[in-house]
């Protein structure tokens, strides 16, 4: 009996010895990346986008030479504080569900007199051009920091957007048969070393949604949630998601609603 136990122990020790170098290597890599991410939290360049957005918001711009200060983001004209934590939502004046970017475009057209096309011209910044839209997004979202996500499904069009977004989340297509759910439908998965949130569960959706927009260190840009969706679909091998398209709003509704209850904590900083 004792020899069997000894034998079993020896076997177990062998398994541990074989597994240890692998587990150690993996653990070390993951730990180092976690440390790097923690170090990034100190001093977030997103503040530069927030400040620029706040300044632009109060600047007289466009053919009507008006500011965006009277923009109704859902909590009444001129209220920015806490507005993002309740978006997307149904707006009666437009008779449709809008996310933040769609609403900003609406205000640029209605208040500042921009054409719809001009208001959508530079949704994302790049090395050769700044995006005023991403600055607006940084400013408005920063005014919801610390506020609990509270996205309503009271209006039938809000319910419809949520259900469409859910359906789209599972829509497989393209050359690789990928859906959003391929990478974001299960717990504790990674792509390479990147942790993947399970966006079908509250914890995963909360962790992901409340940390966008984010300053992307690897790109030197602040990235909005519209950008996040756009780039997911690029990697999904889909065609290009149109900025503020109905699909982008429906998906945002699905994810934002799933994040309800969590304190919003962005603009964040990302790898």
């Amino acid at each position: 009996m004792r020899s069997i136990v000894r034998c079993a122990l020896r076997g177990a020790a062998l398994v541990v010895a074989l597994a240890a170098p692998l587990a150690l290597g993996q653990g070390t890599t993951v730990d180092e990346i976690a440390k790097y991410r923690a170090a990034l939290q100190d001093g977030n360049p997103a503040e530069l986008w927030e400040a620029r957005g706040a300044e632009l918001w109060r600047q007289k711009r466009g053919p009507k030479s008006a500011t965006l200060e009277a923009c109704d983001l859902g909590l009444g004209a001129g209220v920015v504080k806490g507005a993002y934590a309740r978006l997307p939502k149904y707006f009666a004046d437009a008779d449709r569900v809008m996310d933040l970017e769609t609403r900003i475009v609406w205000c640029m057209v209605a208040l500042q007199g921009y054409s719809d096309a001009d208001a959508r011209k530079a949704p994302f910044g790049g090395p050769d051009r700044k995006s005023d839209m991403e600055a607006y997004v940084a400013y408005v979202t920063s005014e919801s920091r610390g506020i609990r996500m509270d996205v309503a499904l009271g209006h039938p069009k809000e319910q419809e957007a949520y259900r469409l977004g859910e359906r789209m989340f599972y829509f497989r297509g393209g050359t690789h048969d990928f859906a959003c759910a391929t990478c974001h439908g299960e717990d504790a998965k990674r792509i390479r070393l990147q942790d993947l949130p399970n966006l079908t569960k509250p914890e995963g959706a909360q962790r992901a949604y409340t940390t966008w927009p984010g300053y992307r260190v690897s790109q030197g840009e602040l990235r909005s949630f519209q950008w996040r969706l756009n780039d997911c679909f690029r990697q999904q091998r889909f065609p290009e998601l149109v900025f503020t398209s109905d699909a982008s709003i429906a998906l945002t509704m699905f994810l934002a609603r799933n994040a309800n209850g969590a304190a919003f904590d962005a603009p964040a900083i990302k790898r």
Binding site: L164, R167, G174, A179, A247
Partner: protein
């Protein structure tokens, strides 16, 4: 006269239809209605870019059926139908050989580019195996969406059957596991026959680091 008084049959039809309309108003749209609308909204929400045209949003039967099961395993009969149809599509190598060069296979397994609208359409596509699988133990940056394939050949045996299985699985994974997350590399023209053979070698060559 007829305009003012309803015929009995019409009255009956109206009486039957009325509650149906009321129910229609009171209840949310069905899943099928939402699915149809979602597909239409998606089509209107994308534009062609680079090599990615709008045809990529047109689902084949497998994509459509698997989307309906929303990340869940489909029932047995549905799964068997999907697997059978996909198995029939596999184009096996004409020379009957499955093993290529594992060193090329490793490069293909590491390469993440291919088929994105941001990628050069002329360049060969990679398989990006490491995004989801552990393979060679030297590569620590691997994903976990798929199972570990470390010692794939060594643990299964270096037989012709397993080589053939690996080739078929890479060519069309839906033939073996309905609604899997794994792309159909051959069926969808992502990898060439030679590239698939090279990846088979990465898994099945006794000299490959995967089997060390």
């Amino acid at each position: 006269m007829q305009r003012r008084t309803m015929k009995p049959t019409m009255a009956l039809a109206a009486a039957l239809a009325a509650p149906a309309i009321l129910i229609g108003c009171a209840t949310a749209p069905s899943d099928a209605e939402v699915a149809t609308k979602a597909a239409a909204v998606l089509k209107a929400s994308f534009r062609e870019a680079g090599q990615a045209n709008l045809d990529r949003l047109v689902q084949d039967d497998t994509q459509k059926t698997c989307s309906e099961y929303a990340g869940k395993v489909p029932p047995k009969d549905v799964a068997e139908r999907i697997e059978k149809a996909n198995f029939a599509s596999i184009k096996w190598p004409a020379d009957g050989k499955y093993l290529g060069d594992w060193k090329n296979g490793e490069r293909i397994a590491q390469e993440g580019r291919g088929m994105q609208y941001s990628d050069d359409p002329k360049g060969p596509a990679g398989a990006n195996c490491y995004a989801c699988h552990q393979l060679a133990p030297q590569e620590l940056s691997y994903g976990t969406i798929g199972p570990s394939l470390y010692q794939f050949g060594k643990s299964r045996g270096y037989t012709d059957d397993i080589r053939k299985y690996a080739y078929g699985k890479l060519y069309n994974a839906e033939a073996y596991s309905a609604c899997t997350n794994m792309p159909r590399f051959g069926h969808k023209g992502i990898l060439t026959e030679q590239q698939i053979k090279d990846v088979v070698a990465l898994l099945m060559d006794p000299d490959s680091p995967v089997n060390h």
